[in-house]
């Protein structure tokens, strides 16, 4: 265990959605390299409270990299410099003494800033609400082993299902697009046999809801690089494929009714 000294933090402070914000500088004289980035903010916040100042507001919860509540743009990267790591699992050993660390909230029109570093990511919920599910009301499910699912298919669906909904993909995307998030859910459900009945309705509804809130994908790959779960860009291709199919298939099925 070693101490890291003299960290300068430039933190974005903003009172509310409609207010202007600004960077404020804070010095952290010493912090253990075993501390996580958010623990460093905890320490700083406790100091701010002791000084009679308002603590820096940031979203966080499980601190195990699974709930997706934490965010933060750290030195120009979503979730900071460590790959496949959410901010809550970023540790100070990734930084050196005398570093300046810039911390900004995620910026996208779909993610309005609520206060300081806290943003509203409800737009993600809106996408799930229109189709990110398999309709299976409680009670009528057949035996779980009735439909065998080949292991590679289950594994691929799981790869997509790992998404934690943190919004790093949107934050990192130069266009503020949510294609990685949306495609991960579409791919998870569309690959499974249980998801087939609603496959095309789901894809069309989710892609079009995504369109109301977010930018477009220009295949930079920043989302994949920022994703703490390493969700693959291939799922975006899969979504694009299924959306194309869905437009035709849904049109055909509509013409039958």
């Amino acid at each position: 265990m070693e101490a890291i000294q003299n960290i300068t933090l430039k933190v974005w402070r903003q009172d509310g959605p409609a207010d202007g914000g600004r960077f404020e500088n804070y010095n952290v004289p010493e912090i253990s390299d075993e501390a996580s980035f958010l623990e460093m903010l905890d320490v700083l916040n406790e100091r701010l409270i002791n000084e009679g100042k308002e603590a820096i507001v940031f979203d966080h919860d499980c601190r195990e990299g699974i709930c997706g509540t934490c965010s933060l743009m750290i030195n120009g990267q979503a979730h900071g410099p460590a790959r496949m790591t959410a901010t809550c699992q970023l540790h100070m050993r990734k930084f050196a003494s005398n570093d300046t660390i810039v911390v900004e909230p995620w910026r996208a029109s779909a993610f309005p800033i609520l206060k300081d570093l806290m943003v509203d990511r409800s737009a993600f919920d809106r996408i799930i609400e229109v189709g990110g599910f398999i309709t299976a009301p409680t009670g009528g499910a057949p035996d779980a082993n009735l439909i065998p699912i080949p292991k590679p298919v289950a594994d691929a669906a799981m790869d997509a299902a790992e998404c934690i909904g943190c919004g790093a993909c949107v934050a990192a995307c130069p266009n503020g697009a949510a294609n990685l998030f949306t495609s991960a859910k579409i791919a998870h459900l569309n690959m499974l046999p249980q998801g087939q009945a609603e496959r095309f309705a789901r894809t069309e509804a989710m892609v079009e809801k995504m369109d109301e809130h977010f930018g477009s994908c220009t295949n930079h790959g920043e989302c994949e690089a920022a994703c703490p779960k390493g969700i693959s860009l291939d799922f975006i291709a899969l979504m694009n494929q299924d959306y194309r199919k869905s437009k035709f298939k849904n049109r055909k099925s509509l013409s039958r009714t």
């Binding site: 609520l114 130069p174 079009e208 477009s216 220009t218 295949n219 694009n240």
Partner: protein, 255 residues
Amino acid sequence: MASTISKPAPDRSPVTGTATQKRKRKPFLLDIYSTAVGKKYVMAITGIIGIGFVLVHMIGNLKMYLGPAEFDHYAEFLRELLVPILPRTVTLWLLRLTLIGAILLHIHAAYSLTILNRKARPVKYQSERDYVAANFASRTMRWSGIIVLLFIIWHLLDLTAGTLNGSGFVRGHAYENVVNTLDRPAVAIFYIIANIALGIHLFHGVWSLFQSMGWSNPRFNKWRREAAIGIATLIVVGNVSFPIAVLANIVKVKS
């Protein structure tokens, strides 16, 4: 905090019924085109048309190395395509119109997506971004595209209309027209720069179109980047060789 009262309060009403609003449908193709993913299909398909054209155009131009007769004969062949089914130059014009349409659609889609993307992040990051995966090509598509567009306009005025070809333009003498124009070093340099821009555009564009169209298959995915490098290199090397050959007097007008 009395000041907070005057500010617009965030909408805190409960969320419900979000999936019950029905989207208004437009005619089928417009409906697809109205979404960002749909516009990307258009980008990809028109891109493929463009790549096809550029490849054939480059291969045709290689005839330059076989001399004026071969080259002019090839130019004439293009005008004679599908004769006598269709009258002379009609096929060529159909191809030209397709290309113009593709370019216009490509530009329109790119423009509207750019506007959409700007709206998706109206307030930029206030600190410097540190990109991890985005490369020079992917981040400069807009600019490489504009350079290529300007080049196309100039190129048409130069060698199709002839208005920028200088005094010696003679319709039908394609070989001479090409050599005359590329003999001017400034023009040759513009030609080279534009083609490098085209190469950069294709380096990202070719890879990107597989993604946009949803052509993804674990078996060939690793070749998508190679295909992009291959096509971009082929076109840049082929096209850039012409002004160099003219400047180096390898290709010249025999008089």
